[in-house]
């Protein structure tokens, strides 16, 4: 009994410090390397030095302080990127106003979420931690690297990634604000006016600031974080990621953005995207979709599993996302579905979960493919990642191994409440698919408001 305790506590200590000693140097030997941007290379080595890919080729020798992974008979691909998720967040929705660009989920990062490790176990190295879809505008999202094991929320951020913000169309914001509180927007017409009113106000704010800066006026406008953020959207400093389903409202938002000269937009879910694929391509809008998930509310009935393929073939930069702590563990399966529904090639399918989401997040110069100079984010599989038999073996971020199937533990939590009665992972397990993950926390706020 005592021996077992000692054994177990050693394991715990190991689990808690599993990054110790890693220095961003790793050599992956003899794998089948799927580069995404430069073909597939058999029996090839990938060397990562100080967190960056430094060499791809055959017979690479490693220096002494480099960990060597034998990837013989394995498949080496860039770390998977999820353009839509809500893991690692303590707060998903602030649903008190239809326009809330000033708030940011990056202020509520949760490095202890064991969902991060579960994503790593599915080969996912980067996810886009998004605000929910309760509001027409806002809040801001955060692109995170899954550096699980750190205690510092700041270390979760992917430093230098462009700012992104959540927009939402259709039923969710209408339900929360219109039906829930009887305030605008109550209809899809009202939704459009939320955007127009906000952008118009932001233009005036910008004008007032410019006029103070040039000395024309003596009083500065009150500092308004909402207007500051909207002004940054107008100036193209923030990429919009818009929750959307119906083709008509997708067209509506493109019209509004066109009127204000904004073009950095990725539509999320976009189930009816296949109806307006050429228009999306012409606008330069991106699309991040589910492989085959729909009919969980009225506006999501008109859908097809061919969506990703149709969008891709029309030249829309398309990705497949999870929006779920469960789907995120097998995005490579989700990508494979596009081969059954749409006949995409291996490379086209894998682009949906690597370089394309990277483009949508504005980080494609750094990650999303295996190229010399890019960041050392790698997923290694036992079989080809689009095979149903593929099992993730290693997941590497910045040249550090964060998931190794050989040392995988049952309980990977890193923060344990000494007074908890049940391990917290029991609470996280139950993600039901009746509703998209974007409405987390909204009903509590509605409830509180009506009863207090």
């Amino acid at each position: 009994m005592i021996m077992r305790n000692i054994f177990l506590s050693t394991l715990c200590i190991f689990a808690m410090s599993f990054l110790n000693g890693q220095n961003g140097n790793v050599l992956i030997k003899n794998g089948t390397v799927i580069t995404i941007t430069d073909g597939v290379k058999e029996n090839t080595d990938v060397l990562i030095t100080n967190g960056k890919v430094s060499q791809i080729g055959k017979g690479i020798k490693a220096s002494a302080n480099t960990r060597v992974i034998d990837a013989n008979n394995m498949y080496v691909m860039p770390g998977i990127i999820d353009a839509h998720s809500h893991i690692a967040l303590d707060v998903v929705n602030e649903a008190t106003n239809p326009v809330l660009p000033e708030i940011a989920v990056g202020d509520a990062l949760d490095p202890f979420d064991v969902g991060i490790y579960q994503a790593l176990a599915g080969g996912v190295t980067i996810s886009h931690a998004m605000h929910g879809s309760a509001n027409a505008i806002g809040g801001q999202c955060e692109t995170i690297k899954h550096r699980y094991g750190t205690y510092d929320p700041e270390e979760m951020r992917m430093d230098g990634a462009p700012r992104t913000i959540k927009f939402a169309l259709g039923e969710n914001p209408m339900r929360v604000h219109g039906e829930g509180r009887n305030v605008p927007p109550r209809s899809r017409m009202g939704m459009e006016q939320e955007f127009r009113r906000s952008f118009a106000a932001a233009k005036l704010y910008k004008k007032a600031k410019a006029s103070y800066a040039s000395g024309k006026t003596k009083t500065p406008p009150d500092y308004n974080l909402r207007m500051e953020t909207l002004a940054d959207i107008l100036d193209g400093k923030i990429i919009i990621h818009c929750h959307s389903y119906r083709a008509d409202e997708i067209m509506m938002l493109m019209n509004v953005l066109g009127d204000y000269g904004v073009n950095k937009i990725c539509f999320q879910h976009v189930n009816e995207g296949f109806k307006v694929a050429p228009e999306l391509a012409a606008f330069g809008a991106h699309a991040s979709v589910f492989a085959d998930w729909w009919a969980y509310k009225f506006e999501v009935y008109y859908s097809t599993a061919y969506n990703a393929a149709i969008l891709s073939k029309n030249g829309v930069v398309t990705s497949i996302n999870s929006d779920s702590g469960e789907l995120i563990r097998h995005l490579y399966h989700e990508a494979a579905k596009t081969q059954r529904y749409g006949g995409l090639t291996d490379n086209e399918a894998l682009r949906l979960i690597t370089i394309n989401p990277a483009i949508q997040l504005g980080i494609d110069a750094r990650v999303g493919s295996l190229e010399v100079g890019k960041e050392g984010d790698v997923a290694i599989f036992s079989e080809h990642p689009l095979s149903i038999y593929a099992i993730p073996q290693y997941t590497i971020i910045d040249g550090n191994v964060y998931f190794d199937i050989n040392t995988d533990q049952i309980d990977m939590r890193i923060d344990i409440d000494p007074e908890e009665t049940l391990p917290s992972f029991f609470e996280h397990g139950d993600h039901n698919h009746d509703e998209d993950g974007c409405m987390e926390g909204v009903y509590e706020q509605l409830f509180m408001e009506n009863h207090k």
Partner: protein, 586 residues
């Protein structure tokens, strides 16, 4: 019907207390305001100790401290041989004297939850704690009892409740109890209820916006002061103006950040805005040592700790061992053994979780020690903690590696420094306020009692807590049948009578006779005997109506003692001796 006079006495005395509180001419002046604590061990500071020395207190000030002091003829001498003198404790942050507001207060109906007044949003940085302070609040007496003389109090509320002030913990209405006013801004990550900011991210966004506006306002106001010509008059914003001392770094923000993530978030916010910050109510700072050190954030450690169930288990194990030795409990043994065997077959996953939980618990209990080891200085604060747990919890921290020296500093001078009153309090030194406590054993020993607390020279004396006699559980069972007298002391009056117990262990009958009505018995019910402890309930008639008393009595061969609980009024000591066998009459 049995009547309990003391309940009436209770009502009466309660009445008198409230009269006393209102009419000051009934106040009894102290005989003297000069005291000498003679021949005590004096902890002037945690490392300056006078082995046998005296303290002269006069007019609320420590006049002299040393091996010998001049004793004025009018001084009251307190023989403190074998006693210990410390600076009275300083509570660096709490809501002492600030009662919870009426929770049922109706909020005006909100049409747009995103557009609410600062008041409803919980943004009231300008609120002065004086406005919600009640000098008669029980918490003040409780803190005195725990050895505290000074408290840094802050208003209750949500994200920015208001300004804090430092008070002297006295109920003397003649004194100006505010040592320092508006010396801090109190802040927490507490969202509003169902309106903006309804979440943590809403709170942080509000902070950022409000802070920038306060900076802008501050700049505009100073510009306007020098040349107002042609400048529009400044707009009024209570919240922004209240934040101006903060943005000018003239007032620190006491930010509540108990757990690791809230600490990280508070630090991030502080870094992005640049205000002076004290991290308050810290419970889990052990992952942030490096950040705390490099940012030089002052730390207020919480005085509450997670419950350590291992200690309890140990005690219960001991109890069980004893019972096992008792031949009477052999029957029980079998069942227990079977249970134990079942426990052996625990799921290894659950076992692993248990080990992790214990490791985590140890880090919480060792938090103070870890800070000390890392050279991070800290003070204690009572916010969200109970004053009666102070010694118990500090002792637990000491068991987990905290030095007594650091513990004493955290309770006294460190706290005083953090709230800017170290020139007045925090050590037993000449010229400081006469805030001292006197204990009968070194304070950190388990069985020490605080015997005196001086608050600016005002003496409060405490009775020595009677050591509980060791329960004779497991020893030979006492035959409690017989006639016993009883006496209950309550609010200075004594209620007496007799108790007749008949029957055997499983079927006891207890009749209680008040001395006033010796022929009128009240029968006890719900009688439970556990070892030599007997508990039962009794219905009595008072002038105010029927009440239920609950007795719990430990019996020995010829005497018993225990308590009687009277509903919500509390419990009172009850004791008695055997005066005869059941057949004897009064």
């Amino acid at each position: 019907m049995l009547k309990f006079k003391f309940l009436f006495a209770f009502l009466l005395s309660g009445f008198l207390v409230s009269v006393n509180a209102q009419v000051d001419y009934d106040k009894i002046p102290q005989v003297t305001n000069t005291y000498v604590l003679e021949n005590a061990t004096i902890y002037q500071t945690s490392d300056r100790i006078i082995q046998k020395g005296s303290v002269l207190i006069e007019n609320g000030i420590i006049k002299e401290v040393g091996p010998t002091v001049t004793i004025p003829p009018y001084a009251e001498i307190i023989k403190a041989d074998s006693m210990y003198v410390y600076a009275a404790f300083v509570d660096a942050l709490s809501h002492t004297g600030v009662p919870k507001s009426d929770a049922k207060k109706e909020r005006p109906k909100v049409k747009f939850p995103g557009l609410v007044s600062d008041e409803i949003a919980g943004i009231t940085p300008g609120n002065n704690v004086r406005d919600s302070f009640n000098p008669k609040d029980q918490s003040i007496v409780d803190l005195q009892k725990a050895g505290f003389a000074v408290s840094h109090i802050v208003p209750r509320g949500r994200m920015m409740p208001g300004y804090g002030s430092v008070i002297l913990l006295t109920q003397d209405a003649d004194k100006d109890i505010f040592l320092k006013e508006n010396n801090s801004l109190f802040a927490q990550f507490t969202p509003a209820s169902g309106v903006s900011p309804a979440t943590l991210i809403g709170v942080i966004a509000k902070w950022k916006e409000l802070y920038k506006n306060a900076e802008q306002k501050s700049g505009y106001l100073s510009k306007y002061k020098t040349s107002s010509t042609g400048m529009p008059r400044p707009k009024i914003s209570k919240a922004e103006e209240a934040l101006i001392p903060v943005v000018k770094n003239q007032m620190p923000v006491f930010f509540v950040a108990p757990k690791h993530k809230s600490i990280a978030r508070a630090i991030q916010l502080q870094k992005s805005l640049g205000f002076n910050m004290v991290l308050a109510d810290v419970k889990q700072g052990f992952h942030s040592n490096a950040k705390i050190k490099s940012g030089r954030y002052p730390i207020l450690l919480s005085l509450s700790l997670p419950e350590d169930k291992r200690k309890k288990d140990k005690k219960e194990d001991k109890k069980e061992d004893k019972e096992e030795m008792n031949p009477d409990s052999e029957k029980k043994d079998k069942d227990e053994k079977e249970e134990e065997e079942e426990e052996e077959e625990l799921d290894p996953e659950i076992e692993a979780i248990k080990i992790k939980k214990e490791a985590s618990l140890d880090r919480y209990l060792g938090q103070a020690a870890a800070f000390e080891k890392d050279g991070i200085s800290f003070a204690f604060a009572l916010l969200n903690s109970k004053s009666k747990d102070v010694k118990k919890n500090v002792r637990t921290m000491i068991e987990h590696g905290l030095s007594e020296k650091a513990a004493l500093n955290a309770l006294t001078i460190n706290a005083a420094k953090l709230i800017g009153v170290d020139n007045l309090v925090g050590t037993v030194e000449r010229g400081k306020l006469a805030n001292v406590i006197v204990t009968d054993k070194p304070y950190f020993e388990e069985k020490s009692n605080i015997r005196y607390v001086f608050i600016e020279g005002e003496k409060i004396e405490y009775e020595k807590k009677e050591e509980k006699k060791k329960k004779s559980k497991g020893g030979a069972a006492v035959d409690i049948a017989g006639t016993w007298d009883y006496s209950v002391s309550m609010f200075g009056t004594e209620e007496t009578g007799k108790t007749v117990i008949t029957g055997s262990e499983d079927d006891l009958k207890i009749s209680v006779y008040s001395a006033d009505e010796p022929n009128d018995a009240e029968e006890a019910y719900d009688i439970i005997r556990d070892g030599n402890t007997v508990s039962f309930s009794l219905n009595v008639d008072t002038d105010g109506g029927a009440m239920t008393l609950q007795m719990s009595l430990d019996f020995e061969e010829s005497s018993y003692d225990g308590t009687v609980s009277v509903g919500e009024m509390g419990s009172f000591p009850m004791k008695g001796t055997r005066i005869g066998d059941p057949k004897s009459k009064f």
